[in-house]
Every structure is written in structure tokens, then in C-alpha cells.
Symmetry: C2
Subunit: 235 residues, 2 copies
DNA sequence: ATTGTATATTTCCAAATGGAACTTGTTTAT
DNA sequence: ATAAACAAGTTCCATTTGGAAATATACAAT
């Protein structure tokens, strides 16, 4: 997935963690070789597409060459009719991989497990369903994660009297401590990512992404099997 | 994943597509209930963080309420100190899930398999390593995908005489046909996503994301095990 | 030349994944 | 009020995943 598995997508991520650990090895300190990991949401490419998308390709420091990116990654970033979605996935992965890898090493929690923790850190007393819909993980994966976290004493699960099907989830003191201890890593990393932009640019970016998110409620969650009657090898 | 899994989360993906299929069921036609899938790259949250990130929360139509998003997704989108990365993963997943699900149904190809196809569609004659580094999928996963695609006659793999370790990958005629037939779906979906923005906004968004991508070569691919000497339960 | 290190790819295998079926509980419709 | 439909959560199980070791080749250094 991830992902976001990037794919998210995810699905990345993903992407899924989709997209787990060691494939992104930028030894920034030893300063030697850099390998860029990436995952989940690939986007197809071809340098001949509607002007509106191509208008953007290659600009903005789109490093015509030498920039620490290998040729294929550079092509996907700068010569891609789907520039938006590849960049979304690329940036998501550059964030997801190091952080969830750190969570795994530091706390021994998998991605779905940590997602439960921070979802409750944000909104305590939610249901597994809420975490599923906001995270994209399937319910059975979350069910297992929740069982493990209950066993670890990080969360508690109590049946809702109003609707006995529902289990209300809450962080325990230990769970909240983990959340509050780990959160700064995530915030700091994002702030580091944003250092490339000034304050106005950050606000602009936030506003533009918010516009897309708001519009996303109108996007289909599924694409029709084969809506144009081209020859299809299926069926 | 998924996610990017959001993706994956992932799921994406989410998201690894991370983050595969049926959890995103927006019946936009039958017009009834909407469930938003998301995965892979979760980001922790807390409504008290450096001003620079909070400056953006809640603005831009950040739907103070009723907008088709459930409460937890809304909280993650609009009250999240890591607004950037959650939105990245969220948007990546809203793209990855329907499209890779469509690829699966239409061509019977998994995400890594399709990623090989379109990577070569973009840059033919590449190595498995190039696809790995630009996609984030581990090499063994791609190795299996490549084997299957060779068996299907979609790609051909020839040893490089200059360096016998390397296998140069190329699309066959069938592989290229699949690429060219499927590409418009990806392009069209991205264009639909961009309909929320006018031409200037698209260029601005592209430029801002490009800035982040360029800066990303300086981001660490791994976070130090425990750099602050807080009490740690590890070891 | 020869040993040691690095790289491209594949294989192995334990673990995670997720679709589908199942259980339990709630709502809707007749 | 009774049946059908729906929803939350769990369990089953075949498949996929990805870390690690293995293989084969290339390059570097003594």
C-alpha cells in the first residue's frame, strides 16, 4: 500500500508499508551513496498528454540533470503526465518509510499497530471502523492489531452499551505515553520537509491540497470494469 | 499499501495499495453512502504544535463540518499537526486504490506487475534495480513480477553483455499495447482530480511539490535509533 | 594475480496480508 | 413482529510479502 501504500498507494504507502523498511538507504552522515526508496503509488507515464499537465513538467528546479536522483526516478518525477500523483506518492514514501521504520525499531510495533495508537491519540474513544476508514487498512488487519495492543496494555476495548456490535477503543496511560513520546518525531520530520518552503508557500500548498481533499468526496472509489467498448481480452 | 498504502497506507499506499480493493466504496452513482478508504502513511496528530503547521489547519474550505468525511478522517485532515503528510497519503490513496483495483480486474496484474509495465513504458531498457529504486518495491518482489511478465510475454529480459549481472528489460509489443491502452485511465483520473484547481493553481501546486521533491534528496532515509537519551524501553 | 568488497538478481521461508465467510447484534420493511 | 438486509468485528486460509541468505558477476586494492 501503501502506498500510500505510496500506496497509499498504499499503500502506500505501501505504501503499504505497504513498503516496509530497508530499501531506502540514504547514508546522509557517512555521505556516500544515496539510494532513493519509493513505493506504493506508481503512475504511468508518457511525454505526450494534455497541455494542462505537461505545463508543469520540468519546471521549478526540475533538475534537468544531476540532482541525486537516478534516471528512472527523475523521469517519473519530471517527464510524467501524471506528475501530481507520482509526486504525491513519492513524497509520502519519503516520509512513511523512515518514520514507520523508526517506530518498528523503537517500539516493535507494525504500521497498522502504530496507526491504531495515533488514531486514538488524535481521537480517543473511536471504533475500529473509524480507524479503518481513515487509514485504509482493512478491518481484519486492524482487528489483529487491536488485539495485540490490548494484550500489550496500550489500549482498552469496551463494548458500547448503546450498540453492542461496537467496541469503543481508548488509549491506556501507557498507550498515550507512547503516542506522546513518538509524536514529535513525526512532527519534526514534517517540519524538516517543509523547510524548503517559506511561510507563504506553506500556506499556499496547504490551501491547494485542501481544495483537492474537499473535492475528493466527488471522486469515484472504483472505476467501471470497462466503460469504453474497446476490444478487451477480459471475459 | 499503501498506500502509500494511504497507503498505503496505503495504503496507500496503501498504501501499498498497501491497501488494495474493496475498502473504498463510494457509490457515486447510486448515490447513497460514502466510505472513504485511506491507508499507508498515517501521521500522528495533536492540536498543539508549532505555529507554522497549524497556520494551515482548518482553512481553505477545511469543512468545519459536514462534507462527506467521517469524523476521524476529518480530524486527521484538518486538525493534524502533520497536515502535509496525511494529506499527501490521503490523496495518493484516493488515486491508487481505484486505479490499481481497475488494473487488477481488467488485466489480472498485481500492483508490482503493473509498475514494471509502466516503468518500462516510461523508460524502456531499464534494470530491475531502477524500477525498485523509483517505485519503492523491494527487488525480490519485482523479481517475481518480472518473471511472471516474461512468462506472459509482456516483457523480455536480456543479459547485458557489458555487465553480466544486469538484465535489461524491455516491453514486448503486447506489453506496450497494454501500457498504451491503460495509460489514459491514469491520466484521465489525474486530470479529474485536478479539475478542482484552475490553471494557475495547478502550476503553483506543481512548483511547490517540485520544490519539496528537489529538497528530498537531503532528507534522511532512516532515523537514528534513539538519538535523544530519554528513557527507552528498548534494549 | 588474488583477496575482499560491492552490486544485480534470485531463492528461501516465516510472517503478514486481505478477501471471504462467519458471528453477533441492529435496523428496515412488510 | 418477523423476516430480510445491514453493520461491526472476528476467524479462516490461500496468497503475497519482504528480510535474509545465496548466487553470480564486477570492481578495487594490495
Amino acid at each position: 500500500m501503501e502506498l500510500v501504500y505510496l500506496t497509499m498507494i498504499g499503500h502506500s504507502d505501501a505504501v503499504k508499508s505497504i513498503l516496509k523498511s530497508g530499501f531506502l538507504e540514504m547514508r546522509s552522515r557517512q555521505g556516500r551513496r544515496v539510494r532513493d526508496g519509493f513505493a506504493s503509488g506508481e503512475t504511468p507515464d508518457r511525454p505526450n498528454v494534455a497541455a494542462s499537465s505537461l505545463a508543469c513538467v520540468g519546471e521549478a528546479g526540475g533538475p534537468s540533470s544531476a540532482s541525486g536522483l537516478d534516471a528512472m526516478t527523475a523521469a517519473k518525477l519530471w517527464e510524467n503526465p501524471c506528475w501530481l500523483t507520482y509526486r504525491l506518492n513519492y513524497l509520502a514514501l519519503r516520509y512513511n518509510v523512515p518514520l514507520y521504520n523508526w517506530v518498528e525499531r523503537t517500539y516493535g510495533l507494525s504500521r497498522p499497530e502504530y496507526v491504531v495508537i495515533y488514531s486514538l491519540g488524535l481521537k480517543d474513544g473511536a471504533l475500529a471502523r473509524d480507524i479503518a476508514s481513515s487509514s485504509g487498512f482493512p478491518q481484519n488487519t486492524l482487528s489483529r492489531a487491536i488485539q495485540k495492543l490490548v494484550g500489550l496494555g496500550m489500549i482498552e476495548r469496551t463494548a458500547d452499551d448503546a450498540d453492542r456490535r461496537c467496541n469503543v477503543l481508548r488509549l491506556t496511560k501507557e498507550g498515550r505515553a507512547l503516542f506522546e513520546q513518538s509524536l514529535p518525531r513525526f512532527v519534526d520530520f514534517e517540519q524538516m520537509m517543509l523547510e524548503a518552503l517559506d511561510e507563504d508557500e506553506r500556506k499556499t500548498l496547504s490551501a491547494l491540497m485542501a481544495k483537492l481533499v474537499v473535492a475528493s468526496t466527488g471522486w469515484p472509489g472504483r472505476i467501471d470494469p470497462e466503460e469504453n467498448s474497446q476490444e478487451k481480452s477480459e471475459r
